[in-house]
Symmetry: D2
Subunit: 360 residues, 4 copies
Amino acid sequence: MSSVFGKNLKVSIFGESHGQAIGAVIDGLPAGEEIDREELCVFMARRAPGGGFATPRKESDLPEFISGIYTNEPLAAIKTTGAPVCIIIENKNARSSDYAKLNRIPRPGHADFTAWLKYKGFADMRGGGHFSGRLTAPLCAAGGIALQILKRRGVSIGSHIASIGEVNDSFFGVGVTKEQLAEISAKSFPVIDAQAGEKMKALIKSLDGDSVGGVIECCAVGVPAGLGGGIYGLESSLAAILFGIPAVKGVEFGSGFEGSGKLGSQNNDRFIINGGEIVTKTNNHGGILGGITTGMPLVFRIALKPTPSIALEQDSVDIDTLKSVKLEIGGRHDPCIAVRAAPVAEAVAALVVLDEMMCG
Amino acid sequence: MSSVFGKNLKVSIFGESHGQAIGAVIDGLPAGEEIDREELCVFMARRAPGGGFATPRKESDLPEFISGIYTNEPLAAIKTTGAPVCIIIENKNARSSDYAKLNRIPRPGHADFTAWLKYKGFADMRGGGHFSGRLTAPLCAAGGIALQILKRRGVSIGSHIASIGEVNDSFFGVGVTKEQLAEISAKSFPVIDAQAGEKMKALIKSLDGDSVGGVIECCAVGVPAGLGGGIYGLESSLAAILFGIPAVKGVEFGSGFEGSGKLGSQNNDRFIINGGEIVTKTNNHGGILGGITTGMPLVFRIALKPTPSIALEQDSVDIDTLKSVKLEIGGRHDPCIAVRAAPVAEAVAALVVLDEMMCG
Amino acid sequence: MSSVFGKNLKVSIFGESHGQAIGAVIDGLPAGEEIDREELCVFMARRAPGGGFATPRKESDLPEFISGIYTNEPLAAIKTTGAPVCIIIENKNARSSDYAKLNRIPRPGHADFTAWLKYKGFADMRGGGHFSGRLTAPLCAAGGIALQILKRRGVSIGSHIASIGEVNDSFFGVGVTKEQLAEISAKSFPVIDAQAGEKMKALIKSLDGDSVGGVIECCAVGVPAGLGGGIYGLESSLAAILFGIPAVKGVEFGSGFEGSGKLGSQNNDRFIINGGEIVTKTNNHGGILGGITTGMPLVFRIALKPTPSIALEQDSVDIDTLKSVKLEIGGRHDPCIAVRAAPVAEAVAALVVLDEMMCG
Amino acid sequence: MSSVFGKNLKVSIFGESHGQAIGAVIDGLPAGEEIDREELCVFMARRAPGGGFATPRKESDLPEFISGIYTNEPLAAIKTTGAPVCIIIENKNARSSDYAKLNRIPRPGHADFTAWLKYKGFADMRGGGHFSGRLTAPLCAAGGIALQILKRRGVSIGSHIASIGEVNDSFFGVGVTKEQLAEISAKSFPVIDAQAGEKMKALIKSLDGDSVGGVIECCAVGVPAGLGGGIYGLESSLAAILFGIPAVKGVEFGSGFEGSGKLGSQNNDRFIINGGEIVTKTNNHGGILGGITTGMPLVFRIALKPTPSIALEQDSVDIDTLKSVKLEIGGRHDPCIAVRAAPVAEAVAALVVLDEMMCG
C-alpha cells in the first residue's frame, strides 16, 4: 500500500496539496517517444481547477520536466531518453489558513481522520495533504504522456460524465469511434446528451454549499485483443489504480452492476463476424473477458462520492478532547468532483494499458 | 498480470478445471498458526458445488497439505511452520466430453475466445480451464486459513447475497456484529431477509436453462483502524483481487455507486464519540477513508454477471472457418454463480486484510 | 523476503526436506512451448544426489506435472498451456531420525538457529527444512524448462566447477561456444581442465568427515544484446536469485573481485569490429555493462561455502538450557555442495534471462 | 529491471548526470521521523567529489526536500509526514562539452554501448547519463535518512576501503563496535590500517591517467536477529541493490569467496553463550544464515572495477561507420571510484535493512 504503481511502467506519485510541489516519476517509458508539451498542457487543463463548475482555486499547473527527456533546441519537441521521467508541478496558490483548524477536527468523509490514525498526527493534511485531489495533477501529467504514446500505437481513450446526482447521460455505444471519443472528451462539460448536460449544470448551480456525486464513463478504442491474462488480469490492474483516485468508491466494467440484474441470455454478448473479424454484437463485457481484452471497446465506469468538503455545518469531534463539535469548512471546493475526474480516468486507463502493451 | 497476488503474504493459484488438480501456494503465513482442518472444510463447503441452487457437479474438494505445516500426531491440529503452504485439490469428477466442441466455438461471455487469442490455441479450456470458477476452491482454502488466523486477532468476516436479478436483500447495518456475520454467513442460502431469499430461490428455479446475475455484500468487523495508506490503499488492494473472481464485473465500497447519486450532506458520515472512541454515525464510507481503515465495519459489494453458460441456443462463430454457428452448451452449470461467490468474497477479504496486518 | 521471485515469469518454491513433497509453481510461461520430459530429467539428474562425490541419499526426483501442461497422448511430448505450471517432487527417501536432536542444538553454519529465531520454533527443520539444498530440485525443474525454451531462442547456458578448496579449474574463454558449454556441462564432474578435476576429486576423497567449499562458473551464450536496463538491471536480478541458492556467499560477474585489483587499462574491454558486429576483445565485463547485456557471453561465478554438516564434533549450544554442548551430526551429507550446484546456477540464469526476454 | 527498488520502503531514483537535476522519491518512510539536515549533508559529503583522490568536479549537492516533510519553523529540525519524500539535487557544474564525442564512440567499460543498444540512441549519455556514478548522490540522500532512523533503533552502519588494487586493509573484526564503525567511516580516507591507507594513496597518486579498482567492506551492528527469511532472504535483497551501484561487479557476505576455499571445520562458526545470549565465536557467516540475520555483525564486501574513464588512449569503434577508432577521454574522472563508494554501500545497507525492519 503505497503511492507507487505499475509493473514494467512504474509510476511514483509524490507531494502534498499545500507543500512546495507535487509530481511524479515515471520509470520504464520507451526511449525516443516524442512528448508534445502543448498537447499535454491542453489535456491537463481538463482537470485543472477554475471552470464555473469547479473550485475557484487557480493553478497554472504547468509540468516541469526534471529528467528523462532531451532536446537540442529549446523550441523543439522533447523526446524521452528511456531514463525515468520526473515531472514537478509547483503549488503556487495554496491558502493554508483555510485549513488551520482541521488538524484537530477531522472533516467528515475526508482522509483527515485516517491520516491522523495512520501517521500519528505527523501528516501534513493542509488541503487534504497527500490525499488531496490535487495529486491527480501529476497522475494526469504521466497519463497524458502515455496517451500520446498510445495514440501513435492506435489506441484512443475518451470519457464523459455518465451521471451527476440522479441526472444520467447516455452511455458510449458499442460502435463508438475514436473521433467521437475525441470530440466528447474535449467538451468543457463532457457529456453525450447535451440536454442531460444542462440538467447536470443546473443541479450543480442549485447546490448552495452542498455537493453532489457522479459517475464517469471511460472508453478505450483500439486496444489490442489478447492483452492481460492470468487470474488477475486487466480488470484487476485497472481497478487497483482507479480506486487510488480520491473519492472513487466504485468501479465497474461493461454492464457492471446493472448486468448483475440481468439474465445470461440478455447479458451474454454473441460473437459475430464483421469484416472478416470476430467481434461481439453487444458490449456488455466491456471489452474484457477473463481479464483479457477482446478487441472491443474497453469500457469502465467509476463512481465518485459527493465532495466531502461542503459549506454546511457538520458534526465532528475534537480528537484531542474527544468532545463533539460543530464544523464549518471554509476554503474553495468543487461542488462536484466528478466533473474534473474524467481526464483522470483516462490517464489511469492510458498508464495501465501502456504498461501491459510493453510486455507480451 | 498473473495468477499471483499479495505483498507480504503472497498467493500463487494454479490448475485447470479438468486437469489433474488445482491448488495454491501461500507464502508468508506466520509460523505457529493452528489450522483447524474441519473448520476449513466447513468453510470450503460453502462454495462447493452440489446444492440445489448450484451445479450438480460434485467434488469433495478436500484440500491436501503438501508443505508448510507440521504435526506430530495424525489426529492433532496442524500448525504452520512459516514455510510456504502448498495446498492441492484433486479434480475427481471432471467430464471433459461435455466441452469437446468448445475448442473451436467460443462460448459467449466466457474466456474461451480471449484465452484462444492470448495463448494461441494452447490453453486447456476444458471446463473453463484456468479461468474456471473452480479455481476459487484453492483461493477459498487459502482464505479459510487466513480467516482462522484473523479470528484469533479479533477480525470476523461474513457475507450474504445482496441481490439476485432484481430481487434485493437488505444490506448489513452500521452496527452489524460478529455474531450476526457468523449467523448469516453460515446459512445454506445466506440472506438477511428470509422473504427476499425465498423470492431469489423462486427466481432461480424459474430460469429454465437461462441464468441470472447477482451481488454479494461482504463485511469485516474488527479490522484495526489505520490499516492501508498511500494513494493506492486498501480499496486498491481489495479491488484488484476481487476482480480476479470469475464473473465479477463491479466492485464498490460503502455506499458505492448509489452514493454517487447523493448530496455531500447525505453521504458524509458524521463523527461522533461512542464509548470514548471516535466512530461514525453512518457507514457510507464502508470503513475506508483515503484508502485507510477507520475501524468501522469494512463493507464492499461485488457484482457478478449471469453465468455465461446457459442451456439456450446462442450465436457464436467457428474460429477456424470464421463462419457463424449456433451453439448449445451441455455440461452442468450454476444457474446463478453469485450463490457460491459469498465465501469467495470472504476469502479475498481475509487474505488482503491479513497481508496488510502483517506489516505496520 | 519470500520464496517467490520473478517479474513477468514468477516462480514460487515450496516444500521442506523431510515433508511430503517439494515443488514449484511457474507462472507466466509462454503457451505452446514443448517440454521434453526426458531432457528435463537428464538435466535434473545433474544435481541429484547419489554420485560418488555427493550424499548417498538417493531420490529419483522425477517431477510430476500437476497443471499448466497438456497432451493428447500419454507418450507425446507435453506442451505448456499458458496457465501456471505446478511441479511436485515427492520426498521418498527421507530419514528423519538422523536429525532428531537438531531441534534444540543448532548446527554451526546452518539455518537451524535463524529459522528457530524467525519462526519461533515452529519451523520443520528436519534435514534443513525449507532451507535445505533439496529445495534446489524444483528450482532445477523450473530452470530446466526455461533452458529448453531458451535453446529454441538461441541461448545456451553451461557451467563448470571453477574451484574446489584451493584447486582451480580454468575459466571459460572469451570465445566459448555453445558446443563447448554443452560438452563441459554434461560431464559427470564438470571441469575444463581434466587434471584440475582429478585433483579436486582427490581433495574431496581426502576430507574424512570434513567438507570443503567451491566456486561454480556459469556462462550464457547467445543472450540478446540490450537486455536489462534501469539502475537495477540484469546483475541485480541474477544476484538476488543466486543468493537464494543455499550456501552461496558470493556472486561476481566477469572479472569480479579479481578485476577490482586491476588497472583500468587492464580491465577495460576494448571494442572491436568482428564480422561486421561490435564486440569486445576481452570479456572482463562478463557480458553486462550498466546492467544491460552487450551480446558477449554472460559470465558469473558463485562462491559456495563448505557444507556446514560435517562428521567432526563441533561446539554448539542447547537453545533451551543455554548451555554449551558438543554436537556430532549423523546423516548423509555432501562433502562438497559445489559439485551439485553447477546445474542450479544454470537453472537460475535460465529463469532470470527468460523472464527478461519476455518483455522489451 | 528499473530504477525503483524496495518492498515496504520503495525508492525511485531519477535524473541524468548532465540533465537539470537528479533525485529520489522515498515512499513508505515512517511518519514523525526527524531528519537532521546537517547530519545528512555531512554523510552525503563523504561521497561528494572534490577530495584529492576523487574527480575535481565540485557540486554542493545539497538535497532539496520537495515533499513528505514538515516543519513549522525554518530553522527547526524537519520531520517526515508519512507521505513520499521527494529529494532533488541540482546539477550545477556539468560540463557537457567534455562528452560531446562520446555519442558515436562508446567508452570501453562504460554503459555507453549498451545504453545505445537499449535506448536506440535516445539516451542522454552526457557524463554517463542515468548510469553515472552521480546517481548515487540521491541514493545517499535516501540512505542517509534511513541511517538516522536506524540509529534511533539501535543499528549502526559503517564501512572502509578494504583494498585498492593489490593493497589490502584489515577486515572488520568479529567484535567491531558502533564506536569503531563511526570512527573509521568518518575518516577522510576510511581505512582501519593507517599504513595500508598511505600505500593506497600512493598507488592512486602514481596512476598517471590510468585508474584502479577496489573493494569496500561494510558492516551493520545492532541489526535485530531474525530479520529476513524465505529462500530469497536478506542477502538476496542486499545484493540486488548493491549491484545497482555503478562499477560493482562482485558482492560477498562474511568469508565469501575466500571461505569457498576453506574446510567446513574452518569456516563453520561455532555457537557459544556470551552474556546469556547465543552468539558465534567467529563471523564467517557475515551475520546471515539461511538469509536470516543471526544478530552478529552483518558484513559484506563489494568489488568495484577500475574507473573505466581513463586518460590513456583506448581502442573503440564508431557505431555509425563500424570502423575502429582511437579514443581519448577528456573530462574529470575519479582515478579510483571505490574511494567514494564507501558511503554508498552504507546507504544501500540502511535502506534494505530499514525496509525489512518495517515488517515482521
